[in-house]
């Protein structure tokens, strides 16, 4: 044994153990996020529990089993709960999501396994997705139109329900379209007119004709607004017509107006294929819908849009600078002190904590540059700032500096893999250095540039700390791109997937309810980032193979 220790074998195995631990950590993390993120979309079975309380009273609980844990009996006893005729040391308890937020104090409740006297999954149990107060669990008993029942045959109940929901959803959609389209457009124009008036006033050019013109335009817009508003109210009125009656776990009949209902499901009555269909439908909704109820329900579309838009803007800024810097370092720079210092600067830019970039971006870009831009070009909007406030442009610029080293390092690696015979050949044929680089080297290095850019995008998509200072918000009412001229609004604030995770997971009023959504968002973000990284690695490996072949 002692001799065996002396060979050093156990230590080698210990180092191997470190590798295993790292691998378990990485794979475990990815699996955890994947599992939790995806199971959010899978329709969970709805249970109907008969629960016996300590005093012998019975009650019914309807809901999804959300989580379960083993707890020691002793801890229960400390909190005053005693289990009779129970032998084991630990007992299992379930966290049940009972929804129906407006009727219960908490929409989550813990149930001890021992107190459950019956557990059923009736096929008639429905879950209603609502635009307010979260999910509703219960039995559908009736569908009303103007307060009158329209159900003649109980067999038609479901089809009637779906039909009416579809109608209400369509009407709601039309209303939202009006709000986000025409009404938004009119408001935007009104604001522009106000700014124009103020601008003329500041310049001292506001005469009677200009004032009258602006007043007329405003009046026309207001008239138009009234017109559109009438349509809007009309849609809302129509949507108010229907209602659904549900029997909840207290056994009471609850009437829910149809315009609040987004979707209805009978998960206990679904087979695997239906569940799969539902699963993908839910994913589709998640990526395409707006968030609801302080981000704890609904989709993440604005966050995806904001992230993608900011990252694209950043790519446009960072690529030329990164590529030029890499070309300088590899093709032009002499081996001297200056080059060495620049290399150290690159390493340091990569190593400076991201929050420092945020601080710099806030102070320099937002307050200094943005503040000056406002003074020069947007005096009419002052004192409310246009560019002198955090926004998507400043975020993109800040992240461009942050990701600059990524592009430089990757591009330079690509340049160094191009055999010098290619350069020499081009120069020997009479091309200037600039022509060689532009026509020969850069096209050959373009996959490497691509790799750098992909890595930069992956880094930027996951970065949150600096963005919290320079432009991200928990809820942006307007996207940075819309139908109002000039279509791209670089001064606007935006939503971001990473910040969404932080905000919903840690700042939301109902963390328990929001948690699955955070996992789903994390899964989305991780998928995108790992995907981008794998693509970059793939491109790089492909490139290496190609040049190895070229050199031989």
């Amino acid at each position: 044994m002692n001799k065996w220790f002396k060979t050093g074998k156990p230590w080698i195995w210990l180092t191997a153990g470190a590798v295993s631990v790292s691998l378990i950590a990485v794979l475990g993390l990815l699996l955890l996020i994947g599992w939790r993120g995806l199971s959010f979309f899978w329709p969970a079975a709805i249970h109907e529990f008969q629960v016996t309380a300590a005093d012998g009273s019975q009650r019914t609980l309807i809901g999804e089993v959300y989580d379960s844990e083993e707890i020691p009996v002793t801890r229960l006893e400390e909190s005053g709960v005693f289990l009779e005729n129970y032998e084991h040391l630990t007992v299992e308890r379930y966290l049940v999501k009972i929804g129906n937020r407006e009727f219960v104090p908490l929409d989550f409740t813990w149930v001890l396994e021992t107190s459950i006297s019956a557990d059923q999954q009736p096929a008639d149990l429905a879950v209603l997705e609502r635009s307010k107060d979260g999910n509703f669990y219960g039995y559908v008993t009736d569908v009303l139109e103007n307060g009158e029942s329209v159900v003649d045959d109980p067999a038609q109940l479901r089809s009637l329900l779906f039909e009416r929901i579809e109608r209400a959803v369509a009407l709601n959609e039309q209303a939202t379209e009006l709000e986000e389209g025409e009404i938004n457009h009119i408001n935007y124009q009104l604001n522009e007119l106000r700014l124009e008036r103020r601008s003329l006033e500041l310049k001292g050019e506001l005469d009677a004709t200009a004032e009258q013109r602006i007043a007329e335009q405003q009046a026309a817009l207001r008239e138009q607004y009234r017109e559109v508003e009438k349509h809007l109210f009309d849609f809302r009125e129509q949507a108010r017509r229907d209602a659904v009656v549900m029997r909840d776990m207290r056994g009471e009949q609850v009437r829910i107006p149809m315009y609040r209902v987004l979707d209805a499901n009978f998960p206990n009555d679904m087979n695997v294929f239906e569940k799969t269909g539902h699963f993908f439908a839910q994913i589709g909704k998640f990526v395409s819908q707006d968030p609801r109820e302080a981000n704890t329900e609904g989709g993440v579309f604005p966050a995806i849009f904001g992230t993608v838009f900011m990252v694209l803007l950043m790519s446009i800024i960072v690529t030329p600078f990164g590529v030029i810097a890499a070309i300088y370092l590899h093709e032009y720079a002499k081996r001297n002190a200056v080059t060495k210092i620049i290399r150290i600067a690159v390493i340091n830019l990569a190593g400076v904590p991201s929050i420092v970039y945020g601080v710099f971006g806030l102070g320099f870009f937002v307050y200094m540059v943005g503040g000056s831009l406002d003074q020069l070009f947007y005096p009419e909007a002052l004192p409310s700032p246009t560019f002198g406030t955090p926004g998507v442009l400043w975020s993109a610029l800040t992240l461009a500096i942050l990701t600059l080293p990524v592009v430089i390092v990757s591009t330079e690696e690509g340049l160094s893999r191009i055999p010098s015979s290619v350069r020499e050949g081009s120069l020997a044929l009479g091309a200037t250095k600039a022509e060689t680089i532009w026509r020969i080297i850069v096209p050959m290095a373009s996959p490497a540039i691509m790799t750098g850019l992909i890595l930069a995008v992956a880094r930027a998509a996951g970065e949150v700390a600096p963005l919290m200072l320079v432009g991200v918000v928990k809820s942006a009412p307007m996207l940075p791109v819309d139908g109002n001229f000039p279509y791209f609004h670089l001064d606007r604030k935006f939503m971001h997937l990473g910040f969404h995770i932080y905000d919903v997971g840690f700042q939301s009023p109902n963390v328990e309810a929001a948690r699955p959504l955070v996992y789903a968002t994390s899964f989305l973000l991780v998928t995108v980032i790992i995907g981008l990284n794998l693509t970059a690695i793939g491109v790089r490996n492909h490139l290496r193979e190609k040049y190895r072949a070229l050199e031989q």
Binding site: W4, G8, K9, I12, W13, T15, A16, G17, A18, V19, S20, V21, S22, A25, V26, L29, E69, E70, I71, P72, T74, L89, A325, I327, Y328, Y332, R343, I344, A345, V346, I347, N348, L349, A350, G351, V352, P353, V356, G358, V359, F360, Y367, L404, P405, T432, E435, L455, G462, V464, A465, G498, Y502, G505, F506, V518, V526, I529, N533, L534, I537
Partner: protein, 749 residues
């Protein structure tokens, strides 16, 4: 032919020109990297620099003091345009202190003059604390007249126009302070929403306390004043009176003794404490003032020393205590002027010198006759930008540049005795709900938090990262290595917000619930690995040869998972067996260790995982690129692989390993999101692994969006960022130097 060649030449010339321009452009673009780094450095410095600037007092205007007689009090409105003067002739005079040609105002021009009362009627005068902005004349017959200077601001022609007016309270009528209508020789006055409180000394030396409560009639809205009079028994000659603006304390000075009286909310008076100033050390008391916020008393002495006292909790309740003293020179302190909001005060010495101090930061800011003017009386405007000084019948206006008196280098890094605290300490508390609050900027607790977080992360990451790097580079078979290396490295790409979220919402409750299991894993996993190794070495060769040595890591994965599962499954049993079923209770009650759910252990693990790939990647490169002939030589001479590793490979690669650790440390120090989400962010100073911390970076992320641009708080947050920048700059540069030297060394081998 000739034209042809000239065409070629021209084309070539333009090509050469393009070539040269490209060279310039690319060089410029390349140096942009350097410029960007320098810009960050200098911009941070540029924002931070003003907090260390010394005070500047520049003369603006001077003019003969308007009004008559002796000056009783001076004042200024907040824009520094208009000053006013109360004199002993019963006049209040408002005057412009700066030229403003657009409104036809010149410095010294009288804007409003009003006779408030007859000169002969005045027996005493007092001013409230500057924030309360009222002045009171004691009149013959035991009466008092309260005056408040006011300013109306309008914007005709888009220009600010400030006009003064006077409000005499109680509809211009004096209030009766002494029911017996005796003459009042001294008077002090303060007020709050519903109550006005006076303390006065009659000609006979009696001490009186008079309160007026305002009662509003619910129906008519008419306000009636309800007076209550009482006499406080006091023996001896009273030199000075002070009253706190919360009306709860009255201070009576008699020589070197200050009697502190408590006034209860219904007006009962009881003596609380007697302060005795040290005559020998400090000299005789010349004047007493309350500092802004009215928590501290500052006392001027004839030796030129100024002492600060405030209440400190002790066994006998909250008592005033001598805290610190300031030295304003050798000349006696004639007057003390306090600022409206900050803990800065100005002292006027008998020889005309002006001194500026800040109490909390113990900053000694200014000692001079400003522009040669011998100051007799002075007043500061509410924004503390302008100082009006009286000297030989002339008023001098000075521009005061004193933006950040509360920040000093020693205040940031040393223990500071804050108002109301029992002792000097390191505290970070930048904001609070109350106006009387004194911001506490000590970078020590948050720097400590940064180091603590980084230390626990490194404790976790260095062993695992390095061991994994060594095995991957040196023992692992190439085919496995090809898959393992990118897998570990992909972890570096994981957004830290996700790691932080998992640490805060998944790992923290898990650790709390399975704490014994967590600890068991730390012991059992290494044991299990060694046991596996031992069993493996005893297995018959034909089984061993099926799995090559380089695949041990894969073999161990299920074993570690099993052991981990076992340890967590055992956790409640261990808890029951060793800790009575409640580890948290055991820790708190038996060991006296505080336990937070989001603690350093969680941060250590989560941030450790963020740092492992950095360390792994660089160290693996360093070990892998150790020249093969060295290891092969060593093995050929009969050394075992482990001996070769420790004596040859690690020694050769040690600079690279050092560089890996430095890079890892740099990353751990600057990491924001994990710390922000996985700790409670309380700025405490304790190495306890079960408590959280607040780091520099998380502090910036939390407080930056709320700090006012240009304020001391804003600049200190920039300083925090600058400190982080410098920290990581040093780590990264050192690591890069070492790595470059190592690369040169390898290439020469």
């Amino acid at each position: 032919m000739a034209s042809n060649s000239s065409k070629y030449l021209a084309a070539n010339r333009s090509r050469l020109l393009k070539d040269r321009m490209a060279r310039w452009g690319v060089t410029l673009g390349g140096s942009m990297v350097l410029i960007a780094l320098l810009m960050i450095f200098f911009y941070l410095l540029y924002v931070v620099e003003p907090i260390f600037r010394s005070v500047k007092v520049e003369p603006l205007t001077d003019f003969a003091a308007p009004g008559q007689g002796q000056t009783l009090a001076l004042g200024m409105e907040e824009q520094g345009e208009i000053g006013y003067r109360f004199d002993d002739q019963g006049l209040v005079t408002f005057f412009a202190v700066q030229d403003k040609p657009s409104q036809q105002r010149q410095a010294g021009q009288v804007l409003l003059q009003q006779q408030l009362l007859d000169a002969a009627d005045i027996t005493a005068f007092d001013a409230t604390l500057p924030v309360n902005n009222r002045y009171v004349y004691a009149m013959s017959g035991g009466r008092a007249l309260i005056v408040q200077p006011k300013f109306s601001v309008s914007f005709p022609n888009n220009e600010r126009l400030i006009e003064p007016y006077v409000e005499v309270l109680n509809d211009g009528q004096p209030l009766l302070i002494d029911q017996q209508q005796r003459q009042l020789n001294q008077l002090v006055y303060e007020y709050d929403d519903a109550t006005m409180q006076f303390a006065a000394v009659t000609a006979a030396g009696d001490l009186l306390l008079t309160r007026f409560n305002a009662n509003e009639d619910f129906l008519t809205g008419a306000v009636t004043l309800e007076a209550s009079y009482q006499q406080i028994p006091f023996n001896g000659v009273i030199d000075e009176l002070e009253m706190t603006p919360d009306l709860r304390q009255l201070m009576v000075r008699r020589g070197e003794r200050i009697h502190v009286y408590d006034v209860s909310s219904d007006g009962n008076v009881s003596e609380r404490q007697l302060l005795i100033s040290d005559n020998k050390a400090m000299g005789k008391i010349t004047t007493v003032e309350l500092l802004a916020g009215a928590s501290s008393i500052i006392i001027g002495h004839d030796s030129g020393k100024i002492s600060q006292w405030f209440q400190v909790a002790s066994d006998e309740g909250r008592n005033y205590q001598f805290i610190r003293s300031f030295d304003s020179g050798n000349s006696a302190v004639k007057a003390l002027v306090v600022e409206y909001y900050r803990r800065t005060f100005y002292s006027v010495a008998a020889d005309g010198e002006l001194n500026i101090f800040h109490t909390t930061s113990e900053a000694d800011l200014y000692h001079q006759r400003p522009a040669g003017v011998a100051v007799q009386q002075a007043v500061i405007d509410p924004r503390a930008n302008h100082l009006l000084a009286l000297s030989d019948g002339r008023l001098h206006l000075f521009d005061v540049d004193n933006e950040h008196p509360e920040v000093t280098w020693s205040g940031l890094w040393h223990e500071v005795w804050y108002e109301g605290y029992p002792e000097p300490q390191y505290t970070w508390q930048s904001t609070s709900g109350s106006d009387d609050f004194e911001p506490k900027f000590s970078l020590v607790p948050i720097s400590f938090g940064t180091i603590k977080a980084a230390a626990y992360a490194m404790l976790f990451a260095v062993p695992i990262g390095l061991a994994a790097a060594v095995y991957t580079a040196y023992f692992m078979s190439p085919s496995v290595r090809k898959a393992v290396k990118p897998t570990v490295e992909i972890m570096e790409a994981l957004p830290t917000v996700i790691l932080g979220f998992l640490a805060g919402l998944w790992l923290a409750p898990l650790v709390e619930q399975y704490l014994p299991g967590m600890m068991a894993v730390l012991v059992l996993v290494p044991l299990a690995i060694i046991a596996t190794a031992f069993i493996w070495s005893r297995l018959p060769t034909h089984i061993r040869s099926k799995v090559s040595d380089g695949r041990a890591a894969l073999l161990l994965m299920p074993i570690i998972l099993l052991v981990g599962y076992f340890a967590f499954g055992m956790s409640p049993l261990i808890e029951d067996w060793l800790f009575d079923g409640n580890v948290r209770g055991y820790l708190t009650n038996e060991l006296g260790i505080t336990f937070d759910q989001r603690n350093s252990l969680v941060v250590g693990i989560a941030m450790g995982f963020a740092v492992i790939p950095t360390i792994f990647s660089i160290a693996e490169d360093a070990v892998f690129s150790v020249p093969k002939h060295l290891t092969q030589g060593s093995l050929a001479l009969g050394a075992t692989p482990w001996q070769t590793l420790t004596r040859v490979v690690l020694l050769t690669a040690s600079p690279g390993i050092f560089s890996a650790i430095m890079m890892g440390l740099g990353r751990a120090v600057g990491e924001t999101m994990i710390v922000l989400m996985a700790t409670g962010n309380t700025p405490i100073m304790d190495w306890n692994i079960f408590e959280g911390m607040r780091t520099l970076s998380a502090n910036i992320a939390v407080e930056m969006p709320e700090s006012e641009v240009g304020s001391s708080h804003y600049r200190i947050l920039f300083l925090a960022a600058f400190v982080l920048f410098i920290f990581t700059f040093i780590f990264n540069t050192a690591a890069e130097f070492v790595r470059q030297r190592l690369r040169d060394k390898y290439s020469s081998m």
